[in-house]
Every structure is written in structure tokens, then in C-alpha cells.
């Protein structure tokens, strides 16, 4: 028989729970082997689907046919530039001009970014990827938290928990200053095997936090510590990421 908490564990896995409910699930999972196994299953199923399942993309031929049919329907070529040109001729060709405007507006609608609940995740993930792709991963190189913490004091307005967990496989390599949603954030950088783990910390506002999130195979784990929001991001496995989060939580009592 599945555990009666299985649905909630799944919702937790899907990042659908608020912080309090997520905490309850985390506590439950520590003592429920069935739900712990369920989470592992969900993770491997997701990995399988996201890494192996065919994703069907529209080819150029189809794009062309759709563009052509939209053009016929709108009486204007479906490119925003032509559509805006149509607006200029509004008086002369009201029908086609209006249709062209409609088309431009509809495309603008579809271009709206992911919903607000995901904006924070996207922002953190972008900051993480930006740092990975540029040479700007680390501002201060150190395996010593006594060097990293004072550096943050001079460069950001947050003092993030930092520790060296090399014995557990998470090596502190340094820190950098970054931005998340316009706020200054401190990032503590760890290395775990071949993976880089960024731990973002910023002053908590009224943002609604997911507990975990996954984007293109990269995982994020969010939590709060005192007045700080923390987010660990990496392409390492979710379990490995959670392992580091556990260590950080253990060594950082909420700021008094």
C-alpha cells in the first residue's frame, strides 16, 4: 500500500507546496521509507523523461506554412514589422491594418514570459548560468570561511552562512556578489565532484518561495534562514544538492 502522504510528497517534488507544507513533507520523508523511495523514483522518472524522451520541435516547413496561413487570415504578413507598418496605414486600409495590429498584439501576448511564480526561479537560474558561462564564477577564492565571510561583509549587504564541508564531498571554493531580482545577493560557491554548486543568499522580502524547482536538468532548493532567503543551484543530482543544504542548515542556526 502506498503511504497516505504520497500525493503530498509528489506535490512537494513538483514544487507545488508552500514553505510550511514542504517542511512537513521533509520531516515526514525522514521517517517514511516509502515516501523517500517515491521521491527517488519521481526524480529518476523525471531525469529519464527530460534527458531521453523525444521532444518534437516544429520544423521550418511547418513554421513557413503557419506563417503563410496567418498571413492569409490577417491579410498581412505575420511579421511584427509589417504589422506595425499596417498600423501606420490604418486610415487607408482599416480592415487589414486592424488585423495586422491584432496579429502583432497576439504575438506579443504569446511572448509573455513564464508566470510570476516562476520569475524568481528563472532569475536565480539565469544568474547561476551566467556565472558558469562567463569567467565570473568567483570574486574571492578561498577554501576558508573566515576569509569568505568578511569579504561578503564588504561587498554585499548580506552575511550568508558558509562552511567547508570538504569531508562530506562539498568543497568551499569561494564567493561572489550577484543580483537576484534587483537585490544584491551573496553567492557561496562549492564544488562537488565535477559539479559547481552556487548557494545564493539575499534579504527576504515577501516573495513566495518554491521548495524545489528543476529547469533543464538543473535543480534549485530554496529555504529560509532568519531574514535570509537561500537557494542552492546546481546540475548535480537533487539528493547531492539536498545533502549540502542539510549541512548548511545544521551549521547555521537562524541569525539571532
Amino acid at each position: 500500500m502506498p503511504c497516505s502522504e504520497a500525493m503530498r510528497a509528489q506535490a512537494y517534488f513538483d514544487g507545488e507546496l508552500d514553505a510550511a507544507a514542504a517542511l512537513a513533507v521533509e520531516q515526514h520523508v525522514e521517517t517514511c521509507a516509502k515516501c523517500a523511495a517515491l521521491l527517488a523514483d519521481l526524480e529518476s522518472t523525471r531525469k529519464l523523461l527530460r534527458e531521453r524522451a523525444p521532444y518534437h520541435r516544429a520544423d521550418e516547413g511547418l513554421r513557413g506554412r503557419i506563417a503563410a496561413s496567418l498571413a492569409r487570415a490577417g491579410g498581412a504578413a505575420p511579421s511584427p514589422r509589417r504589422a506595425w507598418a499596417g498600423r501606420g496605414r490604418f486610415g487607408a486600409g482599416a480592415a487589414s491594418g486592424a488585423a495586422a495590429m491584432a496579429l502583432a498584439a497576439s504575438l506579443a501576448f504569446l511572448m509573455v514570459l513564464p508566470p510570476p511564480s516562476n520569475a524568481l526561479e528563472g532569475d536565480v537560474m539565469n544568474a547561476h548560468l551566467r556565472a558558469l558561462m562567463s569567467d565570473h564564477l568567483i570574486d574571492v577564492v578561498s577554501s576558508d570561511r573566515h576569509t569568505v565571510k568578511p569579504w561578503f561583509a564588504g561587498h554585499t549587504d548580506v552575511s550568508p552562512p558558509a562552511g567547508d564541508f570538504a569531508k562530506a564531498g562539498y568543497t568551499l571554493v569561494g564567493g561572489r556578489a550577484d543580483y537576484v531580482q534587483g537585490h544584491r545577493a551573496a553567492v557561496v560557491v562549492y564544488r562537488h565532484g565535477a559539479h559547481v554548486i552556487d548557494v545564493f543568499a539575499w534579504k527576504a522580502g515577501d516573495e513566495k518561495l518554491p521548495s524545489i524547482a528543476t529547469r533543464n536538468g538543473d535543480h534549485m532548493v530554496f529555504w529560509k534562514n532568519g531574514d535570509l532567503v537561500l537557494c542552492a543551484v546546481s546540475d548535480t543530482g537533487l539528493d547531492e544538492l539536498r545533502g549540502l543544504v542539510r549541512l548548511i542548515k545544521q551549521t547555521s542556526a537562524p541569525a539571532a
Binding site: 513538483d14 529519464l48 524522451a53 511547418l62 487570415a73 511572448m111
Partner: protein, 170 residues
Amino acid sequence: MPHLDAAYNLARWLARPPVDADDIVQEAMLRAYSSFETFRGSDGKPWLLAIVRNCFLTAVGRSRRPLAATVPLDDDVALGDPALFADEPDAESVVIQFEQGRRLGGIIEGLPEDFREVLVLREMEDLSYRQIAQITGAPIGTVMSRLARARTMLKTRWRSDEPGAPHAMQ
């Protein structure tokens, strides 16, 4: 055209011959274009995918499915099964990956439509329960139970289909 890939991916996973995914997507883009005035919201992706889904249902002769209130419980619903497959080895040949993708695709195609669509929307399009409920017209609780079933079925079939020793990992 934003979200066109998402639209096409969903259409491909829903449609089967003789219904053509290209036709569905083309029709959906036209409908989206002509009805965007009625769109009230901030996120175009679920809106467009709902249109794709409706176009598919129209194409197969169902206007809108009645809400499937009952999710039959059968053999493979054990939600708490132990992990049944391990991560793939790193040094894996392209051929094996391709073969796995093909086999996985076949398994997804073999899932009942209700389950297949929630799985595609959640795992491939990364949509929330609420967005999936919006697209499929099913209550969130139903979305959750279908998703659980779909994941369990996929996992079970992936394992039992495995060439070689299917129980080696247990």
C-alpha cells in the same frame, strides 16, 4: 512564433495517424490568432496549449471530453515502490541513447491519453498543476492523481520492457 515548439510537441504526443500533428498546430495557431482578444491572463503558453488540445479533440471528433471523474485503480498503482531504475552510465554510446529514446517514446505513446497528456505537460513543458488543470479542464486533484498514475505506469513499463535482465537493479 513563441511556444510553437511546445504546441507542436503536445500535438505530436496526442495525435495519431490519420490525425496529423501539423494540421492540428496550424489550426491552433489560426484559432489563437483569431481569438486572442478573449485571452485574459499573463501566460500565453497554457492558453495556446489548451487551444492545441481542443483542436486535437475536434479533429478526432470529440468536442470536449467529459471530465473523467474516475481514475481506475489497477495493478501498478503502488506509489511507494522502491527506486526501480538507476542512472545511466556516463560512457554510453549514442546508439544506446537513441534506442532508449525510441523505446521510451513508445512507452509514452502507449499510455492512456489522460495520463500521457499530463505527463507531457508536467515533465516536458514544466507546467504547474494549476496550468495543467486549466489546459485539460480537469480539477487539480485529478491532475495530481493522473500524474501519479502516469509516472508509475511509465516507470513500471520502462523497467519491465528493459532488454536484458529487468530485475537486476532491484
